[in-house]
């Protein structure tokens, strides 16, 4: 049972982010909640790749084959994830700025009507 706790933590972080998204009253807060959802994927990826007693898969100060290594593939995926997450957050914040200028509000509940 203990061996699945890290995976469950990832699911819990995702649900916490979803709850924040659904109940958000401020668009910047909503963007932050989306970042929380995304960080659950980092936890899941790194948990999948972990190996007991493993070290970083970098050989600049390590003789190949001398120690067990954690999975480098998921670490590379997490790196990809971080970069995409940061740029998407920037794009969403730019959208929030435009929404605030056009509609004068950043409460998602007040943004229901269409405006040309």
């Amino acid at each position: 049972m203990m061996s699945v706790v890290p995976y469950l933590v990832a699911g819990w972080i995702f649900l916490a982010g979803c709850y924040g998204l659904a109940t958000s009253r401020h668009l910047v807060h909503a963007v932050g909640c989306l970042a929380v959802c995304q960080s659950s994927t980092y936890v899941l990826l790194l948990a999948v790749g972990y190996r007991d007693g493993g070290t970083a898969p970098v050989f600049s100060d390590l003789r190949p084959g001398s120690r067990p290594l954690v999975d480098p593939v998921v670490q590379a995926l997490a790196l990809t994830d971080v970069v995409v997450g940061a740029t998407v957050t920037a794009l969403l914040l730019a959208l929030v700025m435009q929404v605030a200028k056009r509609h004068g509000t950043v409460d998602p509940d007040e943004l229901s009507e269409l405006r040309g």
Partner: protein, 246 residues
Amino acid sequence: MSRRVRMWILAVGGLGFAALFAAACLRLPGFGGDSHPYGERAVRAALAHRTANVIAAVNFDQRAFDTLGEESILFAAVLGTVVLLRQTREEREVPPEPARVPLLVRRYALVLLPVAIVVGLYVVAHGQLSPGGGFQGGVVLATALHLLYIGADYHALERVRPVGVYEFGDAAGEGAYLVLGLAGFVAGSSFLANSVIGHGTFNTLASGGTVPLLNMAVGMEVACAVVVLLARFLDQAVEIEEEKGT
């Protein structure tokens, strides 16, 4: 939709997800287990191409094509932000007022500026050897420049940051990655294949074949992209304001 209905839908969806996710987790291989077939193959492939940082080998050698896609997402997101945050007709540009900076902050920022730039270049250049690479080093380089904004003022930053040059650098970094990929064809192999130049001596600066070159292209793109992004947001915060009486 009222808040009540929304909370009910959220509860149903959340419980469903929690049940399915927990069931899936119980069938996963245990945390910290010994079986990592892809990881072991990636390590072998990285050592065969004499790349000491296996993660760099995965990103810029084995999965170099996916990294091109990721770089393009970055490029597109920056383009989208530039379009969204341009000055509109009802807005005007006001010259930013110089602000007083405490002497201690100014000295600290100016001492740290060259150090941060060297660290950024180091992280980009050693991506194939130690943790780091183009993505990480590029962000360090871009933020280093903004120490000028903290230590001096917006005018000083604008003098070293002609945004047009950085927009060009952003595109040039993306283009350089593509050209390095096409060089694979010239070398008689496939797109982005790591066979253009020799793989070098293991654990030296010139090892890893095209990995350090792709790292440099990405480093340039990321540094320029972050500078352009921050420039647009800072313009909104410091320079652009709504015209009175509209």
